[in-house]
Symmetry: C2
Subunit: 337 residues, 2 copies
């Protein structure tokens, strides 16, 4: 008996169907003012969370997301067999500092904004293979830590381009288990790196759309499924520019997803009133949308089958300064009740 079956070249099917035992999302004032604001578990109105630095604040959001999720299960962090964590900061320090106090076997991952899907996928494999009974996938981002690391000092007040996205200040954590929970991790597709030569670090939606398209094409080809088999295909975070480009690329392949598609970066904020340009972004964007909105709808039975595909731009400020283009990736998870 094989517990994990390969479907086609890029997709794995989990036969024991690891389940999502609990989840939690935390955010800041801006996220609370968006359309999903009321669905977050906790909102921090102070961007520092009462700490000394924004980096400490981001770490604390990750810890909070995990602790709130764990509270819902009755398990302690020491009952976890692993945690997959990652974030956007250099050397993923939000994650390592956040998880330092929780004493869980720690597996650091880096997928930029695709981190939540990568963590979920690997968590599913860990649990389904018998390597673990239960564990955690978590990620975060913070507008202030990202802005000053990737772009300009906050005090500079730099002008943003129309294609720019707004980094979500938030975190999402999921407890994956071999037994408890309604929502199942059914399949996953590991992305390949795609680089179409886009060099504009303020237009990451355009850089990531081809990677998203490729992973969807791989998934549909591997599983013989259609967009119509899913209530929603969630991407995170292509924003408006990237979403339109994704439709265009897929249409050329005869795949039409527009009627089924939602982008986490487009539903977390109200673009009319919240001045976020092309939409939200950051590891914490699709992680907090998953843990505030998507999983709740699934538990209520409003969604039965969804695809959760998170996209990541695998650049750094150094590579941008050196004139390099932006390699991108998208990992996909099929969730089902």
């Amino acid at each position: 008996m094989i517990t994990i079956k390969r479907l086609g070249k890029y997709t794995v099917e989990m036969d024991k169907q690891p389940t999502i035992a609990a989840y939690a999302a935390v955010g800041s004032r801006k996220e609370s003012e968006g359309p999903l604001g009321k669905q977050f578990d906790k909102i921090f109105y102070d961007g520092y969370l009462g700490l000394d630095t924004w980096e400490q604040a981001e770490s604390k959001m990750q810890t909070e997301a995990v602790e709130i999720a764990l509270e819902k299960t009755g398990w302690k962090s020491k009952d976890m067999d692993f945690v997959f964590a990652g974030d956007l900061l250099n050397q993923c320090v939000s994650s390592s500092f956040a998880m330092r106090s929780l004493d869980m076997p720690y597996l650091g991952i880096y997928g930029a904004c695709s981190t939540m899907a990568q963590g979920l996928l690997l968590s599913g494999i860990m649990v389904n293979s018998g390597a673990a009974s239960r564990g955690v996938a978590v990620t975060s981002s913070h507008f202030c830590t990202a802005e000053r690391q990737y772009r300009f000092p906050l005090e500079y007040g730099g002008q943003r381009t129309p294609t720019a996205q707004w980094t979500v200040t938030g975190a999402g954590g999921v407890v994956v288990s071999d037994s408890v929970g309604k929502v199942k991790i059914k399949e996953g597709t590991i992305g390949r790196i795609v680089d179409m030569g886009i060099k504009d670090a303020n237009n990451m939606g355009a850089a990531m759309a081809p990677a998203a398209a490729q992973t969807l094409i791989d998934y549909f080809s591997d599983t013989k499924k259609l967009p119509e088999d899913f209530d929603v295909i969630f991407t995170g975070d292509l924003g408006q520019v990237g979403s339109n480009l994704l439709y265009e690329i897929l249409q050329k392949e005869g795949i039409h997803i527009k009627h089924r598609h939602k982008d986490c970066g487009l539903i977390i904020y109200d673009r009319e009133t919240q001045d976020v340009h092309s939409g939200g972004s950051g590891c914490g964007c699709c992680a907090s949308v998953l843990c505030s909105h998507i999983l709740k709808k699934m538990e209520k039975g409003e969604y039965k089958n969804i695809l959760f595909m998170a996209t990541g731009a695998l650049l750094s400020p150094t590579t941008t300064q050196q004139g390099e283009s932006i390699p991108s990736i998208a990992h996909l998870v099929h969730l089902s009740v």
Copy 2:
């Protein structure tokens, strides 16, 4: 039937025993002049590898390590079901830029210098679970990219402290398979983050030694094995300072490993003549020692059972500047012929 069995709290045992089909190590002039120099697959005498930047050079070393390893198997990169890759650069760009051209399903990981052990462990789980038939674990470091990112511009010629380690310019890549190869991945222990409050970023051996001790204690406790069950216990990279501290901590627990222990950071260079202070370090250190030296000895039957435990300091220049201490981790893999 369970393909992966949990031993105790932190260790997994792989029953199908995924095998190492091939491996390759590349390095620079300095590594070629060390005691293991002749065992590298390829040496680059130009630190730029003929490219424009050191970052491009480091990426190229990763690509080379994977391509040379794959050549030995007869497989192409497109035959691989995954690659786990990571490195020390911000946003792990050595890895993403290196793997961009190879079209393998890509899973970015970040464990600082513990990356090679983390990649091997996860590769074993992927293959043993049926999620993959074969894949790659690879990592790299480069003295010049690390020095200017973590410490000072190269041109500055900063004085190094006696506890400092020298970042290896090198890469190691391993092809893990479900069928081909003599050396088996038998067990793995996922590390937990340990932070004993060390704040000196020029003394990472001391910061990492407690994490190494904890993982070894966990492994011996989970498996009921003893240091004497192994030909060598390899750590990477504690250097001289960290190794001595490791012996001290373990002795208090009644565990004596000194007679069985080698540190990759201490065997890659000749400390008498190569001016590397406390030893080598960087993701590429234990990765290239594994792929130049350890696995060859195992294939020849000179070593039958070894522990390969890589340690990582999960800090960033930002956290150091903010006065934070250094969270550390160590992941362990038991290799056997």
